[in-house]
């Protein structure tokens, strides 16, 4: 048992929790706005299929939201249980940001969700639309606060250290710290892309099952066009975010690019196996000078290498690979969304082949998003707050056995819930009349849905 390092276990536990958690807010942030869009289209046009789209997707929203809430509660406890040194050192910065998230976002979205889900018929249509808007606003406000804190951990600003504790000198600088605008935009667009591919993928799945009503075609179109519009913007924003990283966290950038030694005219490494021991990439495949060009806009610009940072650099291989997975998925998204948008131009029919590709990419947003987060979070190591506090300094003294026990408990739970979630999303898509018939939390509707299942299955 004592061969287990509690620090490593605590990190794995935290990484597992935060990875599981981020999957769900990513969907609920943009799906909330998509629902508002469906609802307002219905109110504006009076066309029933927009309400059917709303009624189908609100079920997925509710499920996603619940998973986000419960995993978020776990997070709020683990800040303290796993990293007590974090609050002790930078609590004066992190505390108010977290408090504002709870006060301005959590209560709003949780309370309005009840009205949004169950209140139709009890409140006026206008109040119901307002509740939908407030839920979407709440999820986005939550992203604002938590990304302000996360960005501050990467590019801390607006504070001074007194007796080893951070004290705020300017809240504007704390919140709007150098990486915040880039990270927030990058994350919100990532959420938009995740939901676009989810909408498109599930709609394509229904289309393939010959469930081709106006509602399915509408959500398919919304998904494909939103993805096609968002992905080029995301590529530009991602590039700007990368330049911001080059400026503030050069060690992370060197790991992303796999550049070991400072050089002028650095190559863009497409493939390679980073080797910490020899400080080089094995089997490297690279395009000469390209990295210098897109990072410094000069073919001979100088890029700092990993060796420049002594021991204070992140583990190279995970950052290097996660970055390639993210970029690869992004490029795939570009190809798929544009070819679909082209195919569907002027109201033409979808092809089964393209629909299958969309189904395969239903959760591609998650892959790009999680690998992107790994790039930025692992890339910050060994720091917890860049240049201020290392993760090791913030660790707790909880015994390894306790962490191992709870970690295995969480892992079993998360894997089960993740599988259940994906299965249920596709299961809901298989019940063809679901959108037309409200889902009851009481027997009448349930019998309805079981018979539908029988008919469909």
């Amino acid at each position: 048992m004592d061969t287990w390092d509690p620090f490593v276990l605590a990190r794995i536990q935290f990484a597992a929790n935060i990875t599981f958690h981020i999957l769900f807010p990513t969907i609920s942030i943009s799906l909330g706005w998509a629902l508002l869009f469906f609802k307002t289209r219905f109110v504006a046009t009076g066309r029933e299929h927009w309400m059917q789209a709303y009624q189908f997707w609100v079920k997925i929203f509710a499920l996603t939201f619940a998973l986000g809430v419960v995993s978020g509660i776990t997070m709020s406890f683990q800040f303290g249980t796993n990293w007590p040194g974090f609050m002790n050192t930078v609590g004066n910065v992190a505390g108010p940001l977290l408090a504002y998230e709870v006060l301005t976002a959590f209560f709003l979205e949780a309370t309005m969700l009840g009205i949004m889900l169950f209140g139709r018929g009890r409140v006026s249509e206008r109040v119901h639309t307002l509740a939908t808007l407030l839920v979407a606003l709440g999820t986005t406000a939550s992203a604002f606060w938590i990304l302000a804190l996360n960005s501050w951990m990467h590019t801390p600003a607006g504070f001074e250290m007194i007796d080893g504790k951070a004290h705020v000198t300017s809240w504007m600088q704390v919140i709007f710290n150098p990486s915040f605008p880039y990270r927030l935009t990058h994350m919100l667009i990532a959420s938009g892309l995740t939901v676009s591919f989810l909408l498109a993928g599930i709609s394509a799945y229904r289309w393939l099952r010959h469930d081709r009503g106006a509602e399915v075609l509408a959500t398919l179109k919304v998904g494909v066009y939103a993805a096609a519009l968002l992905i080029p913007v995301q590529i530009v924003v991602g590039d700007l975010h990368g330049l911001n990283t080059l400026e503030h966290q050069p060690a992370k950038l060197a790991a992303m690019e796999g550049i070991w030694h400072t050089q002028k005219g650095a190559p863009a490494v497409l493939f390679g196996l980073p080797d910490e021991r020899t400080q080089s990439n094995r089997y490297e495949l690279a395009i000469p000078k390209l990295a210098s060009f897109y990072l410094t806009h000069d073919w001979n610009g100088e890029i700092k290498g990993i060796s420049e940072f002594g021991g204070q650099h992140p583990p190279v291989a995970p950052v290097f690979w996660a970055f390639r997975i993210m970029v690869g998925t992004g490029l795939l998204m570009l190809v798929v969304s544009w070819s679909n948008a082209w195919r569907m131009r002027k109201g033409r029919e979808m092809t089964p082949w393209l629909a299958r590709v969309l189904v395969a990419m239903t959760f591609s947003g998650w892959l790009a998003l999680v690998s992107g987060w790994y790039v930025t979070e692992i890339g910050r190591q060994p720091w917890l707050v860049y240049g201020v506090l290392t993760a090791a300094q913030a660790a707790s003294d909880v015994p390894a056995a306790n962490i191992a026990l709870t970690l295995s408990l969480y892992l079993v739970l998360y894997v089960t819930l993740l599988l259940a979630y994906v299965r249920v999303v596709f299961y809901l898509a298989r019940k063809p009349d679901l959108a037309k018939q409200p889902l009851h939390h009481a027997p009448a509707g349930l019998q309805g849905s079981t018979t539908q299942q029988g008919a469909a299955g």
């Binding site: 079920k59 809430v69 006060l103 709003l108 009840g114 009205i115």
Partner: protein, 344 residues
């Protein structure tokens, strides 16, 4: 005790006190509000059929999520306003906290999965709902026991914590049953009267156990309660508590015949009475513990963050909390009355 309390006219004095108040009230709101949710979850296994289960869950469906947020606020305030105590308390409670989190996760996701997964899986998610509710309630009671005994180790303490776990679960069950008496009708409503009745005694035992044990944990607490004239001034607390128990018991005895005749008079009495008991228990507990966050070890001022950081949050609390309370009241009004089948 006066030497423990700094000058309250200074921000470093009154701000931590204000936040201790916000934290305590959030926890109280959580225990009452999510208490009835968890109580209904525990009672699920006594339902006659799936229809009753659906009605029971429909009665808490629109509320549970916001109810649970009070826990996030309470723990959030502990984390951001009293970081030093947060480390000590959650370090000691590491395992019960983990158990509670897993349990709350199960309960929370079961709300959705039970109606969305394949019909053949529904009973599994109902089980998860019950198990999650029961374990969450028990582990919270365990933590309450630990708070009262000052987070000390030892088998006796742990057993006491485990007992308080059962008693808090009974209190939640009482709250849940009284909630169902108000929010449902027919057979389920009459069954709920029986459930409330069977929860009453363990709830009373829990409050008695806490009242007896707390003064013996610390001589300071003993003196606070039993020195003259405090004793006389505090006597109304246990007396009113006993009176409320009698009131609830009487109401539960009369309700079945009244409900039989379709008379709804007094259906809210058990719920209101239980909340009254919880308020008094809470007041007694706060009186015992003040000004300690960890009995005889850490006061709330010793554990507090810097006044500057607290001030920033204080503005937020003063501005936003009334708004939160206003829209919470609005949501309860929207779903006022007997719960109907929920559909969306």
């Amino acid at each position: 005790m006066m030497d423990l309390i700094p000058d309250l006219s200074q921000p470093a004095g009154w701000l931590p006190l204000a936040f201790a108040g916000v934290m305590a009230l959030s926890m109280l709101a959580y225990v009452i509000l999510d208490g009835y949710d968890l109580g209904v979850g525990v009672l699920l296994r006594h339902a006659d059929d799936g229809e009753q289960k659906d009605t029971m869950i429909a009665s808490i469906g629109p509320f549970w999520d916001a109810n649970e947020t009070w826990l996030v606020l309470g723990v959030g305030v502990l984390l951001v306003a009293f970081p030093m105590a947060h480390g000590v308390i959650l370090g000691y409670l590491y395992l019960p906290v983990a158990l509670m989190l897993v349990a709350l996760t199960l309960r929370g996701v079961a709300f959705d999965f039970r109606v969305k997964a394949q019909a053949s899986h529904k009973h599994l998610w109902d089980r998860a709902f019950q198990l999650g509710s029961a374990l969450a309630g028990w582990s919270q009671g365990y933590m309450l026991g630990a708070l009262i005994t000052g987070f000390q180790d030892g088998i006796g303490n742990r057993l006491f914590c485990a007992l308080i776990g059962l008693c808090l679960l009974a209190a939640y069950r009482l709250l849940g049953a009284s909630w169902l008496i108000m929010k449902t009708d027919g057979r389920l409503q009459r069954k709920a009267v029986g459930w409330a009745w069977s929860s009453l005694w363990l709830t009373a035992l829990g409050i008695a156990a806490i009242s007896i044990v707390t003064p013996w944990v610390s001589s300071r607490i003993f003196d606070k309660w039993f020195a003259f004239p405090n004793l006389v001034l505090l006597l109304p607390i246990p007396l009113v508590t006993v009176a409320l128990f009698v009131l609830i018991a009487r109401s539960l005895r009369r309700l079945p015949t009244r409900l039989e005749q379709g008379n709804e008079y007094g259906v809210a009495v058990p719920f209101a009475g239980t909340i009254g008991i919880m308020l008094l228990a809470f007041y007694g507990l706060a009186y015992s513990l003040f000004p300690w966050l960890v009995i005889d070890r850490i006061t709330l001022w010793q554990a507090a963050s810097s006044p500057q950081a607290l001030m920033v949050i204080f503005y937020g609390v003063v501005l936003v909390l009334p708004v939160i309370i206003a829209y919470t009241v609005f949501a309860y009004r929207v779903f006022w009355g007997k719960s109907t089948a929920l559909a969306y």
